[in-house]
Symmetry: C2
Subunit: 192 residues, 2 copies
């Protein structure tokens, strides 16, 4: 539990992944649970907040999601780059990754999914919207966000606040092969 | 035409949007053409290279894509933040945005779509894969990438090279309301 985490209003939930961060997908079904990294996710709707994420059909995470119909998206900060790459490079079929990497979790408030707060900027609890065709053809899973929270040192009142003094919580954007761009400096565009 | 642009092998095309940059969607049908900004896109498959992008059904871009079955994704560099916000805040139904904003284009090599090179890091030409249900329910358009190119000052040999000396080509990641995070410094994760 991280004292800096605050609930995010559902109408602002899409902003948490609007800028394309790499996420950690958490899942649980029965006595099994897992966490993997996913670079491919995006919002698809503001209200109700809906997202899409690509989870390969060969993964343990996909198996758990299909069994439970729910999953979490946790948004790692820059300080978790090594962990993000690690959980994206190993399978939960070979042993529980939370234990292996010492990842502390708490149960999400609505779905009870394991969510990660230490070192993460935010998390979302999501309920799968079954779309068998796109799941099969594109490994693309659609879902509705039913709860969200963020570390108020980097996201508060519905807005990101990316500053020099919260660098460890800046989001990671996977360029490939374990190289991540950090979403650091902010540019404010002129009003058109 | 930008002398720094080089073709990107199709097996590397997904890397161009792997890290979640905001893109400019270009489209053309008959005598009409358009450009809009889109924050919500992602790869869904490496080979063949396939992507998904959310284009609201009310937009002029969506109308042109449905008429032509093709579209372009251009990846603006940080120097185009104002332009990106501008073309994302106005409609092509109110007049040609390329002319209005002085955007220079060239025809893409495979589909002949208008692609933008000045100030952009890369572009992709995409052929829509018709998925009427997901287009309708989630405004999500799937497509196959049929050609891609990148400015070799920031993407070469299949890899991004984000450095201090190519800051104007660093990608933009929309946080909301015209605020963009710039994907600047690169973190190399330890091998797990």
């Amino acid at each position: 539990m991280n004292e800096h985490f605050r609930p995010v209003a559902l109408e602002h939930a899409s902003r948490l992944i609007n800028h394309g961060p790499t996420v950690l997908v958490t899942s649980a079904a029965g006595a099994q649970r897992n966490v993997m990294a996913a670079a491919w996710s995006m919002p698809v709707e503001f209200t109700p907040p809906r997202i899409a994420v690509v989870v390969d059909k060969s993964t343990f995470t996909r198996q758990l999601i299909m069994a439970s119909g729910v999953f979490g998206l946790c948004i790692p900060g820059a300080g978790l780059a090594d962990l993000t790459y690690a959980v994206g490079s190993t399978s939960g079929r070979d042993g529980d990754k939370f234990s292996r990497y010492g990842i502390e979790v708490r149960p999400g408030p609505v779905l009870g999914l394991p969510v990660i707060e230490a070192g993460c900027a935010a998390w979302l609890e999501c309920r799968l919207i079954r779309e068998p065709h796109t799941e099969e053809a594109y490994d693309t899973c659609f879902a509705e966000v039913v709860a969200a929270a963020a570390d108020d040192r980097i996201f508060a009142n519905g807005h990101w606040s990316v500053r020099d003094d919260n660098e460890a919580l800046h989001t990671l954007h996977h360029l490939g092969g374990g190289h991540f761009a950090r979403a650091g400096s902010v540019i404010r565009a002129k009003s058109p």
